[in-house]
Symmetry: C2
Subunit: 414 residues, 2 copies
Amino acid sequence: MAAADAGRAVAGLQELRRLTGDDGGAQRVAWTDTWITAREWLRRELDGIEGVTVETDEAGNTWASAPGGRERFVIVGGHLDSVPDGGWLDGALNVLAGLEVLRALAHEERPVGLKLVDWADEEGARFGRSLMGSSASAGTLDPDAVRGLTDRDGWALPDALAAHGVTLERMGDSGSRLEGALAYLELHIEQGPVLEQLDLPLGAVLGTFGVQRHMVRFTGAHAHAGATPMDLRRDAFLAAARSALAWRDDAARRDDVRATAGVVKVSPGIVTAFNGSCEVSLDQRALDAHVLGEMLATAKADSERIAAEEGCEVAWDQVWEIEPIPFDAELIELADESIQAVSGTTHRLPSGPLHDAAEMARVMPTVMLFVKSLGGVSHTKEEDTPIADLELSVRALEELTRRTLSWAGERAVS
Amino acid sequence: MAAADAGRAVAGLQELRRLTGDDGGAQRVAWTDTWITAREWLRRELDGIEGVTVETDEAGNTWASAPGGRERFVIVGGHLDSVPDGGWLDGALNVLAGLEVLRALAHEERPVGLKLVDWADEEGARFGRSLMGSSASAGTLDPDAVRGLTDRDGWALPDALAAHGVTLERMGDSGSRLEGALAYLELHIEQGPVLEQLDLPLGAVLGTFGVQRHMVRFTGAHAHAGATPMDLRRDAFLAAARSALAWRDDAARRDDVRATAGVVKVSPGIVTAFNGSCEVSLDQRALDAHVLGEMLATAKADSERIAAEEGCEVAWDQVWEIEPIPFDAELIELADESIQAVSGTTHRLPSGPLHDAAEMARVMPTVMLFVKSLGGVSHTKEEDTPIADLELSVRALEELTRRTLSWAGERAVS
């Protein structure tokens, strides 16, 4: 039993950075030449593993397959594409760690097959639709909803896809690749500060948050800062400020939820008047759909009570929502055990951002591993993780893959 | 003893509106042709009062004098100039009420003289420096501080003044007109909601607020709305929100102070991140300098405590300050009695905005009368006051003028 070469995975990441980055950071934006450069590098690496077959599906996803004892298989996935001026690890770590796991396991006896997938266009950086390739496979990509998207140079999405041999209407056919899949595994940098704060290298991911996103508009009446006594004011900013604090205080009672007031716009917004209107965005996240629904109801009730107390009115407009996507309980156990095996300690945490794993969790048992992000920073060239932790993450992915193959083998029999 | 013709004052205001307003509102901006049209109308009215002499001083202020028994006098003042698209009452009510008081009292026996002044450029609408004429007379206008001002068409202030026969360097000579002055009286619309809320037509003004104005910048660190747990955030907007509420709560404990957070700017100000910086303006006002100083110290201490609790830093930059200008205690008594005499009830209140009376209060006993503003609205064509209240205000000014002349007569003897 050969161990995956964690050092080779890190060396590959550094090589990719040299090939596809510049002073601004990683430039592997999907459906661009630099992305193709990265994929060609991957293709050469995969072609060097004897017995592994490589194909690209109807959605532009690249599959590398090491056949197993039956026509069932476990998938390890990631994405080579990045945002413009992105980091060297987001997406690419998953693929290169998977490459070394595949290289190590390709010639071992396995109860089921093992596949590595490089999803096409996880970031949506050029056309604004993220999780393109994985959602096409999972059956959640609606061609009609994205056909009209254009990039900043006016290129239409269908034309950019066609230039890479992908036909928008046929992307969904890629779903057939998932027939026989028993589990999906993904390693990713955390993109948050939790593991670093806990001084832990690795964590098992519980799932991705559901999101409720609203614009909340408070309306009072502006008037002169000197002429209007405090008790006669209908100050929309203060109503919004109290509400934002109430939303935060409600969310702070649990560690598996978030509430964020990000956009804040006041009117008239001048030094000599209090504000007659204030618009605030509220982005709420939770792992549990029921909890998320309760948070929203509480936030609305709080804002209405506070607005009334401040002599204001409040109106809510939904901007976006997505349901929570919990990962598989048994695979979370395996992830926990794998992290414990390589690092001696572990932690479970939710994922703030979405990942391709969220699309896969809709159709099969799925779990993710997180490795520490320095400063919680990503989508910038400052994104980084210590080499020792990166190597540990490759070993944890290998450990999880081995355990999942065994687990999948039992399910394939039953 | 003839009573002032309150109806004639209101008719004059309506005539002025016809002559110097348009669909947007009053257009009597100082140092413009429309302002001259208004002043020429006033001049014709004053010339029609026998025994009254009319002169313009070195600052462009127009003085109408009805001599009294000695070379001492009481002044009633106002300003015909308006902001662009202004209201029909702000400033003009004072002048036209004073005109009718002067007309009524011109030929009566008086212990001291009576003068009406139409101050030049109270609003500062064209060049940004308000209280021009009255500050020149009071000796607080520094020519060097305003010489470089230009209007939006690039006209320099000294050139605009010269076109109206005023030499910037000689404006201070107008101060000699105040020699022998014993009191200054001014009627004005409230420009706030207090009297309307109390269902009172008139109030005696205690003085003008002192102002402390700062920009307060909170700095934390922005990060992703999903990836960062609530307890690891350094959210600058929430630090600012808590501080703004603390400032309001502190100010709400007294009815003679104000605190207003008007400008609110967050960064990055997007839905998917909490904010790493937030800039808020704080405009604090109080009638008592000691109270104002304590408010500022408390507000700073509150913001520093809250910023520390939120993991943020805070920095204060002063934008502007002016000391409180209290009016004369004896004249406030006379104003109270005069309002009581004409309306049967009275109320004392501070002035939020500044007025020419604030400049006069530096150099002589001064008081103002406020008449109700509908909706507390001014500096817009919607500015309005019921006719009955306007007429009552003219009668109150007459009553106050008579009482002040008697009071001044005693002082002139002593």
